[in-house]
């Protein structure tokens, strides 16, 4: 999936490949999004629930509301900023949970082999073969909805990819290389896995994280769009699109601003991820 820049990467391996301008733009965009998420309270012009009843459904370009307002006169820009914060927070939290869980299960499988390994692999197969959206919807149906549950649920997304990578690399490390050497020095499993194997495979795991991250954002926005993710009065990018859909004819900007943000952010992270993979870890695919 890294085909975009693969021909050049395969042909020659320059000592220090220059960063393509597109990647630079992508990094700048993601950095902006992260800054907006962290500084949300400082940047946003209004409280995101504040209503300006005199200026309802005003189009973008309004002197008080740059990106316009919605039906209740709430400032779209402020809501967008708050949504970026919530969506990124959920995606970050979920990705960290998923990476941690997957890596831990992968290490367990590699360490114990046998039945435990088979069980982990079977779960991974199961997870990879089931459409995650349907599984997530079923859980939400049974448990109702809350933010911690949502983050935890999305933290189950993509764990099997980290688990496969961690298991494979840990097994090959234990079979011949440095891990076997450290083991025969008398090191316990904690030292072997945390101090030696984890730092060695971290770059591969981080690359896969940048590849899973956009999918997590899409998943969250999809669930929220369906009204089954983040619940009002909180707002996320998918929520805003879902809300904006009702005003598609009269006020399309309510939908377009968050939609564009979703697309640009996932696109930017995918570009960075592809570039990182080509640079750091061509073996990953």
């Amino acid at each position: 999936m890294a085909e975009a820049s693969l021909p050049d990467a395969a042909a020659a391996k320059p000592a220090r490949p220059r960063m393509p301008p597109l990647v630079f733009v992508a990094i700048a965009w993601v950095a902006t999004m992260i800054a907006v998420a962290i500084l949300a309270d400082l940047v946003k012009p209004y409280v995101f629930t504040a209503m300006d009843l005199r200026n309802r459904l005003s189009p973008p370009g309004h002197p008080l509301h740059w990106l316009g307002t919605d039906e209740l006169g709430r400032d779209v820009l402020s809501r967008l900023i708050e949504s970026i914060r919530v969506s990124l927070l959920i995606a970050f939290g979920a990705s960290l949970i998923s990476a941690g869980l997957g890596t831990a299960l992968g290490f367990l499988a590699a360490h114990f082999r046998g039945l435990i390994e088979q069980a982990v692999l079977m779960l991974a197969d199961f997870q990879a073969s089931m459409p995650f959206l349907v599984l997530a919807l079923s859980v939400l149906a049974f448990f109702g909805n809350s933010l911690p549950l949502l983050i935890g649920l999305m933290g189950l997304y993509g764990w099997e990819r980290y688990a496969r990578i961690a298991r494979g690399l840990a097994i090959s490390a234990s079979a011949q290389g440095y891990a076997a050497a450290v083991r025969q020095l008398g090191a316990g499993p904690a030292r072997i896995y945390l101090r030696h194997i984890l730092p060695n495979i971290a770059s591969t795991l981080i690359v896969s994280m940048t590849l899973v991250f956009p999918e997590v954002i899409l998943l969250e926005s999809g669930l929220s769009f369906l009204g089954l993710g983040v619940q009002p009065p909180m707002t996320s990018l998918g929520n805003m699109v879902g809300y904006g859909r009702e005003y598609l004819t009269r006020a399309p900007w309510i939908m377009l601003a968050p939609a564009l943000t979703i697309v640009l952010t996932t696109l930017a992270i995918s570009i960075i991820g592809d570039w990182l993979r080509d640079r750091l870890d061509p073996s990953l695919n």
Partner: protein, 331 residues
């Protein structure tokens, strides 16, 4: 003879090997009834082609693998099962030097940190003084403190192997198993590392198992030598005697292929037949298809290791009939 530091009897190890995705696994006997003993401070050379099972034998001797049959006793006590606390504690007394030093080192940690690691693992010495011990170890293998601050990829192959040796010696082990320690190095570097090992072995009174396919290196470092062929020891004896008058036709072929420097340039015996394959082990004496002097009984009857002269054991039907010297004279 003093009580052996490490003693292994009847070591047997079988692997299941799959040819294809759906075929039934084939049992491959990598090591078949190997008995070895190494006295404190003694160096035993273990010679054989690839696939002879010499590395597997070495790993079982260290306790890194558990034999299917047979046992290992270290310092009079049975080898504990791998992974447990007693096994881990024993690692401080038995260490290994690997063929590929780059693979054996963690490429994300500086050399000094890795040399220090056994001390941290086994809690040896005051933590504040371990840095000094690391410098001492690096010095002993000919590396500077500056080398210690570098990462593995910043060192040459020989320097990396020196680092691995320093790490292996950190806990002052009694036994060192060297598995092809110089075969991945440039020929010009090999002698340096071998000399380093010889000096360290003598200075520290280490018992050493030196595994190699290279007779010249083994001859230089070992006092006793065991020759393996397809999982079995076919000959064992004092290094000088064994190289001067090989008893087993296989040893003879090996020696003739690698003449001693300054020694007589004897005729070179070229082995016929396929190189040994543990998955298709010939009946009887496993060497018989390639043996220049094989008889009919060699195809059916497995020769056992029998004494043949002082300190010498040979597993060959022809040698069993006549002592080594006679056979030599007859040939």
């Amino acid at each position: 003879m003093t009580a052996p530091l490490v003693y292994a009897e009847g070591l047997t190890r079988t692997y299941a090997m799959r040819r294809g995705l759906f075929s039934r696994p084939v049992a491959v006997r990598a090591v078949d009834g190997v008995t070895l003993a190494i006295a404190p401070g003694e160096t035993l050379g273990l010679v054989g082609e690839s696939g002879s099972g010499k590395s597997t034998a070495g790993r079982m001797l260290l306790g890194l693998e558990t034999p299917d049959r047979g046992f290992v006793r270290f310092d009079g006590r049975p080898m504990p099962p791998p992974g447990g606390a007693p096994w881990r504690a024993l690692r401080a007394r038995a260490q290994m030097v690997f063929q590929d030093p780059l693979g054996a080192l963690d490429r994300r940690l500086p050399i000094a940190t890795q040399v220090r690691e056994p001390l941290d693992i086994h809690g040896i010495g005051d933590p504040a003084l371990r840095g000094g011990r690391v410098r001492e170890l690096l010095g002993a293998v000919g590396l500077s403190a500056d080398h210690g601050r570098r990462y593995p990829f910043e060192l040459s192959g020989g320097q990396r192997q020196r680092a691995v040796i320093a790490r292996a010696l950190a806990t002052r082990p009694d036994l060192l198993v060297c598995d092809e320690p110089v075969s991945a190095l440039d020929v010009s570097i090999q002698a340096q590392v071998v000399n380093l090992l010889i000096d360290l072995q003598a200075g520290l009174g280490l018992a050493m198992l030196f595994i190699s396919h290279d007779l010249r290196v083994v001859r230089q470092i070992s006092r006793r030598v065991a020759v393996m062929y397809l999982g079995r020891i076919v000959e064992e004896g004092e290094a000088d005697d064994l190289f001067a008058a090989p008893g087993h036709p296989y040893t003879e072929a090996l020696v003739s292929a690698s003449p001693a420097p300054g020694g007589r340039a004897g005729r070179r015996i070229v082995l016929k037949g396929d190189p040994p394959n543990p998955a298709a082990r010939p009946s009887g004496c496993a060497f018989h298809p390639r043996c220049p002097v094989a008889e009919i009984r060699c195809r059916v009857e497995v020769p056992v290791l029998r004494p043949a002269g002082p300190g010498r054991q040979v597993a060959c039907h022809r040698v069993a009939e006549s002592p080594v010297a006679d056979l030599r004279g007859a040939a």
